[in-house]
Symmetry: C2
Subunit: 220 residues, 2 copies
């Protein structure tokens, strides 16, 4: 028997949406998997040939790109930020919907017209997507890389604007910010390591199981 297929699942926001989808695809995780307090990193499932690992959203793409996991569930934001050529993303899972957006204070310190910018300073954990977005219109973005709490940046003078995921907009509002531009619509994708996809025959039916699970969910 070959080594089990390893699927990387992101901690946090997506996990609760991913579990029902996994189950519809015939993969029932051991109970500890849904326990956010569990220190374990690797979990068994009802299928002896499939294990799960629970890692940070930004690490899912890295684990799959290097072949340490065969498949993964990851936001299209992370997929685009890393741009790993080793990844194949065959299924839009229809979960984890949000937007990658530019936000600024509801009452900006200096009223300026974005069409006149030649340079912007942005706090974000998406430096590559941010730079590419602004470069498209000839604007140079100086990105200050943060891992969280970027909503603090405008008030504290770190950067007048941020680029971050926006879902309900509640966090922005609580910090006096407004969404001024959508860079990309985001949803979670099933990703597969290209080399594993070509060499392991048991991965193709698994991808199909995910595709059917999404169709079932859409039909409900």
């Amino acid at each position: 028997m070959p080594a089990p297929i390893v699927i990387a699942i992101p901690k946090g926001r997506i996990l609760s949406e991913a579990v029902p989808l996994l189950e519809r695809a015939g993969i029932v995780p051991e109970p500890a998997f849904a326990d956010a307090d569990s220190r374990a990193l690797r979990f068994t499932t009802g299928r002896a040939d499939i294990d799960l690992i629970r890692v940070r959203a930004f690490d899912v793409a890295t684990f799959v790109a290097y072949g340490a996991a065969h498949l993964g569930i990851v936001g299209s934001d992370v997929l685009a930020e890393f741009g790993y050529p080793e990844l194949y993303a065959p299924v839009d899972l229809g979960i984890g919907h949000c937007r990658l957006s530019v936000a600024e204070p509801a009452a900006p310190a200096a009223q300026d017209d974005p069409r006149g910018w030649s340079h912007v300073r942005i706090a974000t954990k998406y430096p590559r997507l941010t730079a590419a977005h602004f470069a498209d219109r000839g604007v140079q973005a100086e990105c200050i890389n943060l891992n969280g709490a970027m909503e603090l940046a405008p008030t504290l003078g770190l950067a007048p604007r941020i680029v971050d995921l926006v879902s309900s907009g509640r966090t922005l509002k609580e910090n006096g910010l407004v969404e001024v531009e959508v860079i990309a619509k985001v949803s979670s994708r099933l990703i597969v390591n290209r080399a594993a996809f070509k060499t392991r025959a048991d991965i193709v039916p698994l991808v199909e199981a995910f595709r059917r699970a999404v169709e079932v969910a859409d039909a409900v």
Copy 2:
């Protein structure tokens, strides 16, 4: 009255040790500050001239280096990884003790002698410190950047070794790894933005208050 002094405190591991130290330095945070579930990012204290922000350990140095926070509490590991010249680190706070170490499987796949290496592959969130450590002995380290769960890397074939913080060693043991080399001893430091330190007279007595708070703690 000038704007309040802003102190950046790391979420997680250090927070519970930092609160008693802040209180000994005369800074009593509002109750929500110690509540890990609070969504708030900025907090008042018993002193009207001092606010706290609660950010990720890896972001504390960035907030202070750019002057968005005036002071911060940060591990010497993060300080060394970023190497911001804008930071002054006048006080070792004597909390957050741990080690930055190299670890590998208790039973390595291939027995090799570290003295013979010319190249190593390492999973870590400290790519600069790791590369510098190995470069010192003429070894090139190829770092795979992860934000967490690097203990999974050796088993899954991502990298045969990791560089990570080790405290009790329990997490390593649970994942079949052993600590083979200490790169640096780590403790938390009080950091100050150099420009703020020179221009705001109210920062010097605050640094002294932290220094006394540490001396009191040491004497207990």
